[in-house]
Each structure stands twice: as C-alpha cells, then as structure tokens.
Amino acid sequence: MDINTKALKKNAFRVTKERGMTASRIRVPGGHLDAKYLGEIQKIAETYGNGTVHITSRQGFEIPGIPFEKMPEVNVALQSLIDGLDINQDEAGHGYPASGTRNITACVGNRVCPYACYDTTAFAQRIEKAVFPNDLHFKIALTGCPNDCAKVRMHDFGIMGMTVPQFEADRCVSCGACVKACKKKSVEALTPVNFRPRRDARRCIGCGECVLACPNAAWTRSDKKYYRLTLLGRTGKKNPRLGEDFIKWVDEDSIIRIILNTYDYVKEYIDPNAPGGKEHIGYIVDRTGFEEFKRWALRDVTLPDIAEVMTPLYWKGVKY
Amino acid sequence: MIKNDYIPFPSRILEVIRHTEIEYTFRMEFHGTVRPGQFFEVSIPKYGEAPISVSGIGENFVDLTIRRVGKVTNEVFERYVGDTLLLRGPYGNGFDVSDYRGRDIIVMAGGTGLSPVRGVVDYFSEHPEQRGHMTLIAGFKTPHDILFRDDLNRWEKNMDVILTVDCAEEDVACHVGLVTQYIPQIQLGDVRNTVAVVVGPPAMMRFSVQGLLGIGLPEANIWISQERKMCCGLGKCGHCKIGDTYVCLDGPVFNYTKGKFLAD
C-alpha cells in the first residue's frame, strides 16, 4: 500500500492505530448544525466506516474504520455536508482542503441560552469563512458570556461575549435586583447610590446579569456587541496554560483582522523545523517576545473607543 | 385644580426632649386640629419622609417622638430649636376619647407604642372625673429604653401605672417581665364598662388582646393601633394596605371588632 500520509492528513483524514484504516474528520463551525446532516454522517459511517461515530472534543465528528481506498468515495459523500455547513473548498468532491486550523468551537450561544450576549455559531461561521482553509495550527473558540462554558481560555484565540449595560435611570424601581445579581453572580461592579445602581465601568465584565435581573427594563444591552479576546491558551506536553486577556471591549471586525494578522505573523516566525509544520503560536510568541506579536496582530486594526488593550502579557501554567 | 397634598409645610422646632439614647420628642409648631393616634409624614433631612405618630398635643404644637434607627432618623437630632422640619398631616383617624369617657380604662403600650397613646393617657390623667378606674401597663425592652419617665411619674399620682421591662441586668425600680404578665394585676370592675387600648409591636398586641379577652373584655371594648409603612398617608402608595383596609385612611386606630380581621 502506498499512501501519502501528509496529503491525507491535510485532507482531514487520520492515520489510525489500525493499519490500512483511516478516520474522516468533519468540521462543524460553531458546533450547531441542521439535524438532517446527522443522517448524512450516519450514512457515511455505515457505508464506509465501522458503523460508529465519535463526537470530537472540538465539536466535530470523526468517522473511524474507513479503509484508505475508500477516501475518494468518502470525499464525494462528504460534499453535501461541506456545502450544507458552508465550508470553504478548493474543488468540489475532494473533501476538506486543510486540517491545520481546527474546527472553530462555540457554546450554544444566544440561539438557546439566555446568558449569551451574541449568536456564537454565526460568529464562528464568519471566522471560519475568513480563516479556512489553512494548514497552520490555530485553535479558536467562542463563548457567549464570561461564564465561558466553551472554555475559550484553553485556545489560541478565546472570544467571550460582552454587552455594555445601558441604564435608563427613570425606569429604575430601586428593587436592588441588579446589585444583588452582580454581587452574587458576577464581579460586584454595581453599588447603590441614591436608590439607584452605580456601575463601576472598570470593574464591569459586561456579562449582562444586571440586564437579566432588571424587572423593569431599566438595564438593557448595548446596540453594539463587544467581546473579550483572550490569547494563547493551550494544552500540550511542555507548558499547558490558560489564555490571558488581550483586549476587553473589542468588536467582531477587529477580532477577525487580528486572527488574520496572526497567520501572517506565524508564517514569518514559525520554526521551519517544527514537527509536521505544527507549532503552538504561544511558543512562537515566547520566542519573538509579546511586543513583536502585538505589532503584527494590531496592524490595520481600528479598535472601538472603549477597547482596553492589555500589555505586556505574561502567561503562567505548568512547565515540565 | 385640586390641592397638592404631597407638598409639605415648614414647621418650627420649639423644643427637643431626649428620652433615651435613641429616642427624642420634637415639639413642633402646629396650628390645627389633631388627635392622639394620628400621624404626620415628617421629612427627615438626609433620610426622607417617615410616618411619625403624635405623642402630645398642645395649643400651638404637636409632639413627635422619633426613634433614631440606624441612619434613619439620625440627622433630625442634629437640628436645633428654631430650625424647621417639613411636615404633612395629620393623617389617620386617631383615638376618640369620647369612646372611653365614663368607663374604666386599661392602656397597654409596648415600646414606642406609648407615643400614640400618650395623648389619651394625658387627657384622662388631667380629667380623672371623665373616667372610672384607670390602669396603664407600659413595657419596654430594657431600663434604657423607657420613654416618657416624667409623664409616667406624673400619671402614677392618679392611676395605676405598671412599668415593666422585658429584661434587666441589674436591680431596677420597675417590674421585670412582659406586659401580658401584669394583666391579672389589673383592678377589674365591670368588664362591660371597661375599655382597653393596646399599642405596640405585632406580637405584643396579639398576646395582650388575647389576655384582655381572657379576663372577659368584649371585643368591641378594645382598640388597637397598627404601625405600617405609610409612605403617602393618602391611600395611594399601597404600603399600608391590609386586606381591603388602608391603615393610613381607615386607621391606624381600629376597634378590635374590625382590627381582628386585619391579617397581613
């Protein structure tokens, strides 16, 4: 058997422990899909695979037990999923054009969750369109609110939804619900002053608990959506660590620009001898220094007025 | 255009009498009709309005006994004679002394509950000919909380005054125990010709009324006064409503035949 493992990996297949067998990896940007695609996945698993499906830790599907020779047929069968989930592709019928940049994960977001500050899946899909296909090893995750159910701080780019609470004083009934909610469920950014809440903007994390708690629509959400962007969290063998805050109150467009800029930065500085052309961005930043990264990342980025850029950044984590 | 009942009028502080660490009586200039048991809405600087019952009535003044609770009424005590406070009122029905004329009278008061009945006791102390035998049982938490000491001494001269405190650390010149304990000591005549006025905290009123009913007083011979959070005094704000009754309009004084139906 003569198989180019580099090529099959790039095509979103895997070299498995079972000789001659591969697994097909299906991207689901934002982790939300029409239920009809589950039927497609079932069909592929039962026709070409061993009849099982793994739900991956990155919200995709992995269909194991596929003989290498079936890959072209599987690629044809994947076309409806690739089209339906609007995945960028070079050539129809040839499967996924890259696998380095991982599936973009998201919590359920405001399609379902009351806490979410935005449609996480829609934003994930927007990022997917901007960054895929790409061979560089980027991990991006989105979460609806600072609860961070999507654990975005474990990713290179973590995106947390925020809202700037808007207060209409004349609708306030002095019930104290917002102050209590902020204190008990969030960061205690509200204090009562003259019967009404006063918001400490520096403390506020934009979670929207005040809006949820307000019984009279005195607190509402800002028209514009904002995010907290965390940087360069990672798992791995050498130095797993949580992502650190980079920008508080950043907007969607800037986030996408920053991610694209980072691809340029990585292309410039990645270790040419990295095994499999794969190197966590964090290690590259450790090498170049944060300021150099920042210079690249913020190129042509116009941040909103309220954005706060944290600098310099230091990461912790366990070092082995 | 109708009258704006929310606008308070300025009233001069004529005198300030300190009773305890936290309780003071303000003698406020007032010309007009007022009954014991009625209340004023008093604007307390840096706090806001609070309903305060009338604890004394004179020709051109009313006494308002104010308890300093937390930051509540702190500021008012820093005011001095000659300064003014903003008042609205009087509100509520108050006590009608004609209900008690010619009869044996029992007054049971707990804590600041003595304020609203002070005018009634004073009236019958000064007009003993208008009543039969009279007993006042006044209860306070501790000896430090006793209000109107001078009045109590004065009243003692022509009526039975039983002064009691819930608890005392040292020997005191008064009784120790709850007011209800002293009901058996009341010198009782014809219960049908005996009336009672009970004012105090909810539990004290409940047990006192039970005690009085127990010694045979008819319900119709008992009056109570309810303390509620009267924000407006005008039957609008809703804070003092109990069932279909607005304490500020229909009370705060209730004959027990009506008062017994007031369940929060």
Binding site: F195, C214 | K46, E49, E227, G238, H239
Partner: protein
Amino acid sequence: MGFCVTSMQLNALFQTWQSNYYIYAPRIFSGGGRFSDTDCIRYGKIDCVDEIVFDKKSEYSFKEILTPVSQTLFFFTEGETKEADAPKKGAVIFLRSCDLHALKRLDDMYLHNGPADYYYQRLRENIKIVLMGCTHSFENCFCVSMGTNVSASYDMSIDCQPDGTYLVDCRDEAWGQQLEAAGASQMAVVPSHVEENSVTVQIPENLTAEVAKSSMWKEYDSRCINCGRCNFVCPTCTCFTMQDLFYSENGKAGERRRVWASCMVDGFTDVAGGGSYRKKNGERMRFKVLHKVLDYRQRNGYHMCVGCGRCDDVCPEYISFSGCINKLQNAMTEVTEQ
C-alpha cells in the same frame, strides 16, 4: 362616525395631535429585550401609525404614561418647596380594551381612594383614548372571564386591516371632521373584540380572606423569586415609594420623587425599627392575588384584575396568575371543611 382610513390620512391626523399631545402606543424597542438580539414591546412616544405594534401584546402596560415609573413631585430647599412642572403636552394613548378597563382602576385608586392625587389628576385631565381592537386573543389573556373584553368609552377606535388601511370609529368631533375633510371613506365601524380566550378563570363566589389559611400558597414560597415583574407589568398595580434625593451635604436641598414599588419585592412592608410583614413569597403571592380578585372588590365593588395576562407572560419562573386564581375554589373547600 366610522371611517376606513389610509395610514397617510392617519399620520396627517397624528400631526395635528402633536401640537397638543404626545402620542403613546405600544412600539418596538429594538434590542430592548432581556436576552441578546431580542426586542421589547412597550409604550413609547410615536410619530406615525406604522410604529404601532398591533399584532403582539405589549410586555409592559400603558400605566407608565399616567403614573411614571419615577416621578419627581417637588424640589425643596431650606423650608421652601417648588412643585415639579407638569408635562408640556397632554397624551393620546393607544390601548386595548383590558387596559382601558385598567384605566378605571387607576382612576379609582388615584382619584377616589382618599383625596384625589394631584399629579395623577393633572395628567389624567388631558388625555385622549384610542381603543385598539383585538381580533384575536393573545396567549394568557383572560379578559372575557374578567368582563373587560369590550369597551365603549373612547375618543377613537382603531383596527388594522390586512390591506394596510385602518377602520376607525371616531367619537371626537374635531378628529372626525378632519378625517372627513381628508376624504376618508365613511362607513359603520365597530371596534373588534374577542368573545373567548383559551384561558378562563373562575373566582369562587364564596371567596373570603380565610383562603389565606390554605396550604395552596406554600408552593409559591419556593417557586416565586420575588422579582416583582408581575407587579411592574400589571396595568392595575399602583404602589409606589417616596424617595428623597439630596443635593446638599446638610440634606436641606433636594427633590422628592415617587417610584414604582412592588408588594412582591423585599422591603415593601419594612417599618422603622426593623419589622416587616409577609416575609415568605407565598404570603406575598397571596396578598397580591387576593388584592386583585377579592379585597379590591370589597372596597370598590368590582374586581381589580383585568385579565390581560401580562403577569403570566413575563414571569421568569412560569408562575401563572390565572392558574393561581383557579386553585382558589379547592383552597376555599380546604379551609371551610377544617
């Protein structure tokens, strides 16, 4: 006088109103909902008829126009007071039949329970009512049970037609003349109303305050979160609290305002000295429910609740007020058999 009018003819009428009145109607507050990317439908000023939401119930009622959430009563300085100014214009209010019945309750509370309320009256004297017809019942409505589904006292009625025109019954003479002059076609118009709701309630004939002793209230101790939304959206809840705002350190200058209050929210019954009544949420629920369907009637001769169902629409804990009313019969049996 009935008309079929176009939105252009109506907007022209609105324009003449604007010289003397603000126009208030249920409208969309885009992004104004609790959750992200959701709207809120509530009362606000409008300029043209297209802004009015006809096909949904407003989350909050019209009452905030007549009894503002927060209303400054007067300003004070060293012993002097200055009354707060009245709004510069009157109000034309678009509302549905249930809310028009609620207006009667507001009137009875503010004008007849004790002395007439100065601030309410000065607004009330200068309003015009436009009745919005109801072609169908919304979720949780039980106006038919409460007898509030039909209203007759309005200055104009309005029904939105599928073709984009409006049927109006104009009782105001000047407005009628203007529509006539504008060439609106005359026809007999009766505002639409609903004859049945999917939700019905039965208030027991023998209901008394004794029902407070029932065990039915206990479930609300834990289910209810005492947020007060049911009160704030209710068109008949009128409670308020006084607040003094001090401009100076010595507390001698400032303003007094009144602000909506809720009998479900902590602090409503707090008295000086730390006492309070109805600590349990079930007790508060009972206090509210019995006010709406028992003791208000004892005082005023008719029920307070108008069956708009907004309290059910808004409750984050899915507590149904109408469901609670329908438990009263069994509760009465429970307390009378004891």
